[in-house]
């Protein structure tokens, strides 16, 4: 395989890992928790920026050609971890305000508004993350120490990304399949019923949102470490909707579904075309992708809203207890009934 094709595969694999983490994040927030996060992309964006500036070193040391805050040169994987933490922290701050409305459609509008404001602020105030031009020359993890060529290092990064993605998957799966995940789904179905059973639904919703923010930040951090650059053009509101399309087409609420959705929408349809070697990615190609995906999305939410792999309730088996004497006494039913 030629170097160009190898690098194509490397790019697709790394992007797939980062996009999977982002998809799982949105699936936690929207698929499970029912939070309409139309501002999703800013949480990926902040993760990328924080990971970048914590690898770049102090801004003054760069000769002043790019301006940014928080500059430091931390060893890997600290920038990655900090990027994830930044996603969670931003989700906490934004969520405290945007999740206050009772109506989830208003929450969604507030989140979208935050994202649009965030884009303007970062673009037009170059002192924060170097404005519209963005950050470049972000050091690669362990890049200097290994002394590998571009393609060899690419394969090394694939392995690194695979480990990070697998770790994220294991954590997300634990969350999704746990009583915590079940409560998140109950929150989506009926917040007032969940409140009537003793769960603080505002706190729960914020928790789901922040956990999602951590994984969104992680996905941005992973992307930035591969690309080596990060600018407002790397995290546009369009992309929020492509993640949403992937999660819904795959099967909102289903971990397998959002995984499949990300691979189909992002790896095959978007990046697969975008990074083809010797192929000039045109605005026409992009327009076709958007129209095709947009129509597919609409067909799914009208005809098959559960997606390709629908969410499934956990099954425990229908067990009859008739044979066991005494288990049906009122006292047994009451269980922990006090006094």
């Amino acid at each position: 395989m030629s170097a160009a094709w190898q690098y194509y595969v490397i790019t697709l694999l790394v992007f797939t890992g980062a996009n999977l983490i982002a998809g799982w994040s949105l699936n936690l927030q929207f698929g499970l928790g029912g939070i309409l996060n139309f501002g999703f992309i800013i949480f990926q964006g902040i993760g990328g920026y924080v990971a970048a500036v914590l690898a770049l070193g102090p801004a003054s040391a760069s000769g002043g050609y790019q301006h940014y805050i928080l500059g430091a040169m931390l060893p890997w994987p600290l920038p990655l971890v900090a990027g994830a933490a930044a996603g969670g922290l931003l989700a906490l701050l934004v969520g405290l305000v945007a999740l206050r409305p009772r109506r989830i459609d208003y929450q969604g509008m507030a989140l979208l508004t935050f994202a649009l404001i965030g884009t303007v602020v970062i673009t037009d105030y170059p002192g924060i993350f170097n404005g519209d031009a963005g950050l470049v020359n972000i050091p690669k993890p362990l890049g200097g120490a290994l002394g590998l060529g571009v393609v060899s290092y690419g394969w090394f990064f694939v392995a690194l990304a695979a480990i990070v993605t697998l770790l994220a998957y294991l954590l997300v799966r634990r969350l999704t399949n746990s009583p915590w995940g079940r409560q998140a789904r109950a929150l989506r179905e009926s917040p007032r019923a969940l409140a009537s059973l003793g769960v603080n639904v505002d706190a729960k919703r914020l928790q789901v949102f922040v956990v999602g923010g951590v994984f969104a930040g992680l996905s941005g951090a992973l992307l930035v470490e591969f690309i080596g650059a990060w600018a407002p053009g790397s995290w546009t509101t369009d992309e929020t909707f492509f993640y949403l399309v992937a999660v819904v087409i795959g099967g909102s609420g289903s971990l397998a579904g959002s995984t499949l959705g990300i691979v189909v929408v992002w790896t095959v349809i978007f990046n697969g075309v975008q990074y083809l070697p010797l192929f000039s990615y045109t605005t026409l190609a992009e327009a076709i992708q958007i129209v095709v995906l947009g129509l597919a999305f609409i067909v799914f939410i009208v005809v098959r809203p559960a997606g390709l792999i629908p969410e499934r309730a956990q099954r425990f088996g229908a067990r009859r207890l008739d044979a066991r004497s005494g288990l049906n006494s009122a006292a047994e039913v009451a269980g922990g009934l006090e006094q």
Binding site: A186, V201, V333
Partner: protein, 271 residues
């Protein structure tokens, strides 16, 4: 209506207050929506370990009062005292954690959760329901969930849903959803239940079975307040009946005493 607005003391209300354990006291509770006085100075007490019926014509303020007691709406004025603690300003989840659990008039099952998952969600202090607990993995919370499952199956059996554990709650019939909702409220380990029209749409034979479950729970010490339009069920289940009209409690007594009371009849007929 002016005559019926007076508190009519009938029946057991005359018992010495020192002798009874009061689970819930509603004192001059008002709840206004702009100029509408949905609850307008309701006062009554509920004795521990009894089933109290709350009846009255449509618009009497029963459901709003249930909302106020359970923390879903704040009283405009007045006090709600639960086992000696003023809870009028508490949010709904805190009221529920204190053991005062309500059901809803309109079904509010978790539709895309299975019937069993609905019950598990209600069980308090389930391991693995925090982020940290969830991240510790199945081994950490499995035994607690298994215990919950045992209890869940017993509950479902009791409520005639024994073979529906794995069905999506949204697939149940209207009557089965009502039953699941009661079962789910019981799963939350309540000391007191507020049931808002629990038998609406439940087939009569099954409703009779559930009545016996409720009586069994009462005999175990659970206190219940029941809003219901089925007077037969009220008569069979309730130790005491409170009649509401125009946002107030206008009469209280046994069903027989209530039926014999002319002012109550006036209230129902809009007299």
């Amino acid at each position: 209506m002016s005559a019926s607005a007076e508190w009519v003391n009938v029946g057991r209300i005359t018992r010495n207050r020192e002798e009874v354990d009061i689970a819930l006291e509603v004192a001059q509770v008002r709840r206004y929506f702009g100029g509408v006085h949905a609850v307008d100075g309701a006062s009554f007490e509920v004795e521990q370990g009894t089933i109290t019926g709350l009846i009255g014509p449509n618009g009497a303020g029963k459901s709003t009062l249930i909302d106020v007691i359970s923390g879903f709406q704040k009283p405009s004025s007045g006090r709600v005292v639960y086992h000696g603690i003023e809870i009028g300003s508490w949010p709904a989840h805190r009221v529920a954690r204190a053991g005062l659990v309500r059901s809803f008039q309109l079904s509010s099952e978790f539709a895309r959760l299975s019937v069993m998952e609905n019950l598990l969600t209600a069980m308090p202090d389930m391991r693995g329901s925090t982020v940290a607990g969830a991240l510790r993995g199945r081994r950490y919370w499995r035994s607690a969930q298994d215990a919950g499952l045992e209890r869940g199956y017993a509950l479902l059996e009791r409520f005639g849903l024994g073979d529906r554990a794995d069905a999506y709650a949204g697939e149940l019939s209207g009557g089965q959803k009502r039953l699941l909702e009661i079962a789910r409220a019981v799963a939350a380990n309540p000391r007191m239940l507020l049931l808002d029209e629990p038998f609406a749409g439940v087939n009569p034979a099954l409703a009779r079975d559930v009545e016996s479950v409720l009586i069994g729970l009462r005999d175990d010490g659970l206190t219940m307040v029941l809003v219901e339009h089925d007077m037969g069920a009220i008569e069979r289940l309730c130790d005491d009946v409170i009649v509401m009209a125009e946002g107030r409690a206008i009469a209280r007594g046994t069903m027989a005493e209530i039926v014999a009371n002319e002012e109550v009849a006036d209230a129902y007929l809009g007299g």
